[in-house]
Symmetry: D2
Subunit: 360 residues, 4 copies
């Protein structure tokens, strides 16, 4: 077992700290002969990159990815792929405050007590910067699946709630997602969120969010009961993203309030294809993909770095206060959208390899 790896067969391992020289990952188990270039990966990294609007952290990282191994003449070779991104904008600053005090809601306290040491610069290993490597690995997974499943396969995510403000699902347009700084599929909601988030940011506060991610064109049969269920792995994948506090598949928590009649998706023939009449299941039955869109949702808590002073304790066991200045995302959920897509792609790719191993 490896603490910093994810996946059973399509397995990636990330490394690096927020203010170290670089961050990176190694992806093992990539099928051979898949076309792969740095541009394929960069496209997705650019969507996650900080500093693209006033609504995300002003840290300026070009996040330029380099492929260091596993690709030969434009094709994967089956050998491990090492990806690296240099850290450029680790602003040198006075860390004395953060070095001695535990920021509420952050991992400072638990890292210190677990390891007896922590790299406090910019959050060290627990920085959301790590998620860049998920996006990079996810881009590789997408290339693999695109080759295997064709154009019908698509992974898309969107912000469906910011703070207490959900979208109106009747307004859902996938095309809207890249037209606003929030990855919001509801143009009207996006507009309202602008003002809301400006207020939050100016107050030095922060807000939470809900992200929805969907994969279409996924074949039936992915997922392996009992403990490698597709939805269980997806839950772990999404819950492992920084600041995530809840995960749902399909109807999710709403399913608790439904009756069996309302919840079970009926089936019928559509020519020689089986068609489900609804998708309460979110594309997963008994832990195995059903051929319907795989749909998951997750809640991101508000960024813990806020300006208002908060009570806390320091490393000497004294009561104190802390207020976090600096460059932060007022709504860290925004940049979780490309990460959500990546994790979905990674889980699907992993399960596709597992399925081939046992059942083909």
């Amino acid at each position: 077992m490896s603490y910093n790896s994810f996946g059973h067969l399509f397995r990636f391992t990330t490394w690096g700290e927020s203010h170290g020289p670089a961050i990176g990952c190694v992806i093992d188990g990539v099928p051979p002969r898949v076309p792969l270039s740095e541009a394929d990966i960069q496209y997705h990294l650019d969507r996650r990159r900080p500093g693209q609007s006033r609504h995300t952290t002003q840290r300026r990282e070009p996040d330029q990815v380099q492929i260091q191994s596993g690709v030969f003449e434009g094709l994967t070779t089956g050998a491990p792929i090492s990806l690296v991104i240099e850290n450029v904008d680790q602003r040198s600053k006075d860390y004395s405050d953060i070095a001695r005090k535990f920021r509420p809601g952050h991992a400072d306290f638990t890292y210190q007590l677990k390891y007896g040491i922590r790299d406090y610069r910019g959050g060290g290993r627990s920085s959301a910067r790590e998620t860049a490597m998920r996006v990079a690995a996810g881009a590789v997974a997408r290339k693999v699946l695109a080759g295997a499943w064709g154009e019908e396969f698509r992974v898309r995510a969107a912000l469906v709630q910011m703070g207490p403000h959900p979208i109106d699902r009747d307004n859902w347009e996938w095309d809207a997602v890249d037209d606003n700084p929030f990855f919001c599929p509801d143009r009207q909601a996006a507009q309202k969120w602008e003002g809301f988030l400006d207020g939050v940011r100016k107050a030095g506060s922060s807000t939470g969010a809900v992200i929805e991610v969907e994969a279409t064109g996924v074949p039936v049969g992915l997922g392996a009961p009992i403990y490698a269920k597709l939805d269980a792995d997806l839950a772990a994948a999404l819950m492992s993203i920084n600041a995530v506090k809840g995960v749902e598949i399909g109807a999710g928590f709403e399913a608790a309030a439904l009756s069996g009649e309302e919840n079970a998706d009926e089936m019928e023939m559509d020519g020689d294809q089986v068609r489900f009449r609804s998708n309460k299941a979110g594309g997963v039955l008994g832990g195995i993909s059903s051929g319907q869109p795989v749909v998951a949702r997750f809640a991101v808590k508000p960024t813990s770095s806020i300006l208002s002073p908060r009570k806390t304790v320091d490393m000497d066991g004294q009561d104190t206060e802390i207020s976090t200045k600096g460059r932060h995302d007022p709504c860290v959920g925004i940049r979780a959208v490309p990460v959500a897509e990546a994790m979905m792609a990674l889980v699907l790719c992993d399960h596709w390899l597992l399925h081939k191993a046992q059942c083909e």
Copy 2:
């Protein structure tokens, strides 16, 4: 990797089908010299056992567990522990309907398409009967942790919502949980649920539920970032339970609507102990336990086996209908309560071993 195993170091593997001769599990990685008897396990199995009230399935299974290995003179030896429960009440019946038709909401369709074969008798491998072995393995985990952490350690779960009816959290009494057939901590809610569930059952319908599980007395430091986070593993553990569609830690989905000020749990000294002033985090910060109670919640969908005829298709690709007669839980969430406790104990025990390996 093993499809039917869970845990990194405290690892259990389950096997068996609903209507096979037996179900069982093998637990590997159990520390040596832990007192363990069949009675220790039976206590928890009895709480989950079907047929104890009119509100659960009338299948009569004594669920008598046998220890087949790994225990010598009342103590664990460090060798793998094999546990087995014979299936007694696999009522022989006519399976022709279920053998040819896919029950909506069940895993029939996906098992058939994934494997090209399925043991349709009583749901085969996808039966909730498998969860008995989780409870058995969980009982072993509890013994290990009780020895290591002492009496302060406790894992408890309760049903906090049945169908659309949540409890009133102001009425919460842990003592109430074993006084009603629903594991409900709110005596008033329990009373109302009686009537509600009678109605559901008589209508041949079913209903969903929400379960909350809490562990107290858990030391700081369990959980290993980034991909073996305590909450990520807990999410996988709970999502892997049959019929679960959503998982939350601490404030969960509610956190999305909060501000940073509301959400981050402040800290202060209480003598020489650090005390958190709230527990929005659910006892996990950065994937590592904080010493606060670890709190998770999950949603169980309504049982898919219902009496009203539902549209479906058969193995010949024909439209048809199915209505599921027989012995079923109208609210499968009830018996998920002991399973929730087991999964929490298993994840904690696993992470305790991981923590010892790296940090002690």
Copy 3:
């Protein structure tokens, strides 16, 4: 990770002690729709069964295997297969000697110091009895591979040295192997060994052995560099068998004395097939099968249970002596022959699944 499991995707977990109620294993990752019956497994167990000649232990174990799960109407379902063998002839006896003293060459001392407890009855978990479950699991692997690779695929093993007496390889006849109680492919050697082993047994002594195992009909491409090399996994598989002290692939230790010219197997076309002109490599190049026969050899030490009194210490830290009476194999290497076949089949099956996952 699981201490008592082997294999990456075709993964089996064994449990049980020599004098417990039963021994068993769970095999996970078995492809679906493979015909499998208890008779398929029993055939191989019977070859390993003790008490079939005067040259092996006189413990009388019918070793009757039962399939408890994972097979439906004669076909595997993809669910885990639980196999169990009841222990019948655990002769009740006075264990006081062995309970307090550490037998030289046995695992008594190390188990006691590692775990602080040991099931001393008949060697407990470290008994060679565990290898019965390897043979059972291996039989399942053979069925899977026979279905996939056809009749050309064959795994065979033989004893090629007993004590200081090697066979004459010019006399090698595979047909001879089942005609003598030693699995010896050289009829003349077998005859000589009869007398040699009678002498050893009557003297209350024991002797070592070398086993060779070969798989033919193995496709090119199995094995995954760098750390899942076919030969590395095979080395682990064989070294994990009780009493094994050395493992070789192909030319093995002899390769050290060769020149590059002598050692590298030249290739040439034979019609449209590539043919190797020799097989010094033992069918593995760069950790990947080459299509040639996969050939491995391993050394088994002499049984440590002998009649002559040996110096040792007891649990009170006192010098003492011990002599091991009872039913033992004077040459435990003999019964390792079917185990060798099983381990080869298991490693190949596992790597076939790995190969399908990544490369097909």
Copy 4:
């Protein structure tokens, strides 16, 4: 599972090709607060570095290691450690010969058939250059164990046979090992080998070797039966090194020829310590370390790159010949000596963590 990772808890993953921009590894599971600098690692890399005598390849690689993560203010943090070495001397040359033809004894053929593509430049992923990262990871393992076990712990290796010329074990001096270009513990043998290897090199030929590696100061109790035995993992670790064809523990293959009396190591008290009167077991009993020195040996085949033309086939399925010019080690076994030490340290460190997890 990960093809390019090794270890259960102290787990490293290597990446990189011989002629790519760099090679590297990620080590996960490193305990926190262990002092670690680049110099600690460089010391061991320098011992393995090519081009230090006329007897190894003339490729000039400084093999300068960089720590990219997981170390803060000179101490490990518990986060993954990324190590990287830039490739400097990847001489650009005409690869057309090697690109189209399969070199006998090399992995060219099997990589091509497995993956349908191969990075042929300098052997790509199958180059012995990968072993530099093993040495680097091994250096980290040594630092961890030195901190845990103190000065008595020591891992040393030596070349004990070159081609057909073994050392005289009576001449064994550990101090001699670093006084000759062969890591030979027998000064007289080293002198003879000079001439022998000059002859081999001038003839454009190559020769095999046997390496012995020993760890002292190892506590009792490392190794976890049945399938995580210390010796089984060690066998896999050593067999995974390029060109290795055989592995032995303790008496190894010689044990096959011994009687039980000769082979089982007797025990006696030495004050309040248990002392073994011999070490045929090589420090491992029942898969668990006994406190004696852990001793392993392995055979390295002669380098397959030789000057004399050898018959082979090309990618068009035509018979042809090939002779390998360029910079090669005439005895690749020499530089396997530091690699052997590294693998021993890695396996021990991994098992120490496993032991702590279950038994402390």
